[in-house]
Amino acid sequence: MARKALLISPERCIGCRGCQTACKEWNHLPGTKTVNRGTVENPPDLTPYLYNRIRYIETATEADMVRWLFVSQRCMHCGDAGCIKICPAPGALFRTKEGAVAFNKEKCIGCKLCVAGCPFDVPRYDDKDKISKCHLCYDRTSEGLLPACAKTCPTGAIRYGERDALIGMAKKEGYGKVYGEADLDGLGALYAFIDPPKLYGMSEKPAIPESVVFWHKVLKPLAYIGLGGAVAAAVLHYVAFGPKKDEEVKKDE
């Protein structure tokens, strides 16, 4: 099957957050208590109960004109997925036949290594310490339905389809470069940016941390030989980052 992807076009996005809500609706994610921090953007970051959110970026331009950019933030479904690479629990993170990076909570061991493996700071852990993030609605897409976010988007700011076709479409629409076209073996969430990615809060050259690459190539195969996933994860975590700190974990939830 040809790889599927999302094409996200901030120029089309009206910031209505239909996608943010439709995602919650489909995935039955609870609303959480928030406060207004001097912006309409909320919640302030992805959470285990927020797989997709709109970031509101206000920029003043030279001509005393303001721009207001609306950008969907979510799992990028990397072709070369650091999270899958580092995950020591078989089947906890996996690639769907459509090409998305999905998860199986039953198999997740809560080691949080995928957090280290992700170049985009996406994976979150729910109250049962299980991985939680956008899975591109693989339960829907495998039945021929659109992901909830793409389906609900009023203006086509989130489009779902064959990845090559989406890239072609973006180019036809005048975008010389598509963000995520080649990085990390191609992202599953492509962005049509008219300005440098930095303006949208994206890194120019996303890459998997080298430690993860090291683990994936060297330690992980060893771990499967000698140790259970959980033990291996704990060992690696200690070797790589030192002891787990409670506060770090709390902050995320």
Partner: protein, 201 residues
């Protein structure tokens, strides 16, 4: 968010570039979920919020709404919805919805739950009491007419008005057309003229 959560997890330095030999340990297919709306009853509705009139498909199972999403056949919304439309589910399934009539007595500090029959009878009694007390069969109005000399004069005359001045009503643009029609008919039969709703504000 200022500091990326993974910054503190990152390894510093070191160049451990290895060949990109991929070992994907994910199973080819292990979908834990099945499509939960597969056997649900579908019905079509229109979004209750703004006036664009977007189509929504509601999925129900065992008498409960389990999902609501855009109606792809709808010519205006084409399956899409905004944040309010996309959350219709949460209006229906909401623990804070009031599910039983309530009554607040004069001077009371709290609501009490009451039976429908009691509440409706009590309201009917009050409608009648207030109507009977404040009903005006006729009022005086100034009208222009011709005096005996043929000149225009203003005179006060009694006219039938059949109205209840002691009850007012507001609402509602959230009702269905048929209900709006029934309601204006009902209120006018009671003699109300203070009838207003959201269109005025």
């Amino acid at each position: 968010m200022n500091v990326s959560r993974r910054n503190f997890l990152k390894l510093s330095g070191g160049s451990l570039l290895l060949s990109s030999l991929s070992i994907d340990l994910a199973p080819a297919r292990s979908y834990a979920q099945t499509l939960r709306i597969k056997n649900a009853k579908e019905s079509s509705t229109i979004c209750p919020y703004c006036s664009v009139g977007c189509g929504i498909i509601v999925h129900a199972s065992d008498g409960k709404v389990i999902n609501a999403e855009g109606d792809p056949d709808h010519p205006i919304s084409e399956g899409t919805l905004c944040s309010k439309g996309a959350s219709l589910f949460q209006i229906i399934n909401n623990p804070t919805r009031v599910m039983k009539p309530r009554y607040r007595a004069p001077g009371a500090g709290e609501w009490q739950e009451v039976e429908w029959d009691w509440a409706l009878d009590e309201i009917a009694k009050r409608v009648k009491q207030t109507r009977d007390k404040t009903f005006k069969i006729s009022t005086k109005s100034k009208v222009k007419g011709k005096g005996p000399d043929g000149k225009e004069v203003e005179a006060e005359k009694e006219f039938v008005v059949n109205r209840t001045d002691g009850i007012a009503h507001v609402g509602s643009a959230a009702l269905d057309n048929e209900e709006c029609y029934m309601l204006q008919k009902l209120l006018r039969s009671w003699g109300l003229v203070y009838i207003e709703h959201q269109a005025r504000i």
